[in-house]
Symmetry: C2
Subunit: 203 residues, 2 copies
């Protein structure tokens, strides 16, 4: 893992999708492992245990956390859609709380590409926060739509992730070309969608 992180150019932000969530003292050790030992810039964090389980990952402004908000998987609705007395769902409460955690500009949110309506609403709630958007490709989310709904007004801050679509593009000897083809197609779809969003924001 350390070798892989080292092989990534330093101008590229590395995010460990570790989805860790634990009490503060344990979270501190996870932060040390992921940031200091493995060398990642940021990681994904589960909010279920609340503020003190997130704080160790965002204490140092040179590192940061993407907090699970509305996840891409089918079971995402089971608890994240629980609505409180004011009608706001748990995922909205998480988004609002993440804004208060963002004192050092190092907090982002995770919203699945498979929930475009929620993605648009999280972007409206948190106009400037980075949103990590998994679920494109194998899970069924659309890269273009995710870019359009997930980007900030200036076209940035949507971090769209596709793993299996690229990693497993081919199991044959053409895997290099196949992976490159999938990655390029995704990049073009995102750039085009984000460009459209950016133009709309300027209008």
């Amino acid at each position: 893992m350390r070798d892989t992180v080292e092989a990534i150019p330093t101008e590229v932000i590395t995010i460990a999708d570790a989805k860790r969530g634990d009490i503060g003292t344990t979270a501190e050790r996870y932060a040390t492992a992921v940031f200091d030992v493995l060398g990642f810039d940021a990681m994904t964090v589960n909010p279920y245990q609340g503020s003190d389980s997130v704080e160790p990952y965002i204490r140092d402004p040179s590192h940061g956390a993407f907090v699970l908000c509305k996840t891409s998987n089918p079971g995402s609705d089971d608890f994240q859609n629980l609505r409180g007395g004011d009608g706001a769902a748990l995922w909205e409460l998480v988004a609002r709380r993440a804004l208060t955690w963002n004192e050092r500009s190092n907090v982002g949110l995770v919203v699945g590409a498979t929930f475009p309506e929620e993605l648009g609403r999280v972007r409206a709630l948190a106009p400037d926060l980075p949103i990590l958007i998994p679920g494109v490709g194998t899970q069924g989310g659309d890269a273009g739509e995710s870019g359009r709904l997930g980007a900030a007004v200036d076209g940035t801050m949507a971090v769209i992730n596709a793993s299996r679509q690229v990693l497993y593009a081919s199991s044959g000897p053409d895997w290099r070309e196949a992976a490159r083809r999938e990655a390029t197609a995704l990049r073009d779809a995102m750039a085009s969608a984000v460009g459209a969003r950016s133009m709309a924001g300027m209008g």
Copy 2:
């Protein structure tokens, strides 16, 4: 880790307090790592992502999961106390859902000793489920009270965990005796409390 698990007598149930939570395909790999590679019997699981993120850990009835319900840490209230339209908190929703996941009798809940009121209510909601109860000792929970509130009517099903109180009982050369002393005191407090609960249940 594997050596440690192997050193534990087979009649003792081993629980990896890994608090994992991820989409189904990733959860399957975590289950393989923790149950098959490391040899644990059960593990703790974060419910935020819902049913498909828990299912891989409870598919095989010879292994099981303890689902985070009301955790022991200060930030526990931030999201777990969100109340839906029917007045039930998120942690109650998790407890009720865990009951539906318990088809193979291999689902438990995690409720912190630092929240005795919630512990009693989870026990009432789920009369027969094992409850893993961290937060005794360093975190401030009381072992006796946890046994009394957390045990089932027959005095079983409360799994009270103390880590730092025992591990760090002494940093001097007397650490063996100090750890034994703390562990024995905890065991006696729990046995006495659970015995009282069991007697009350018989009355």
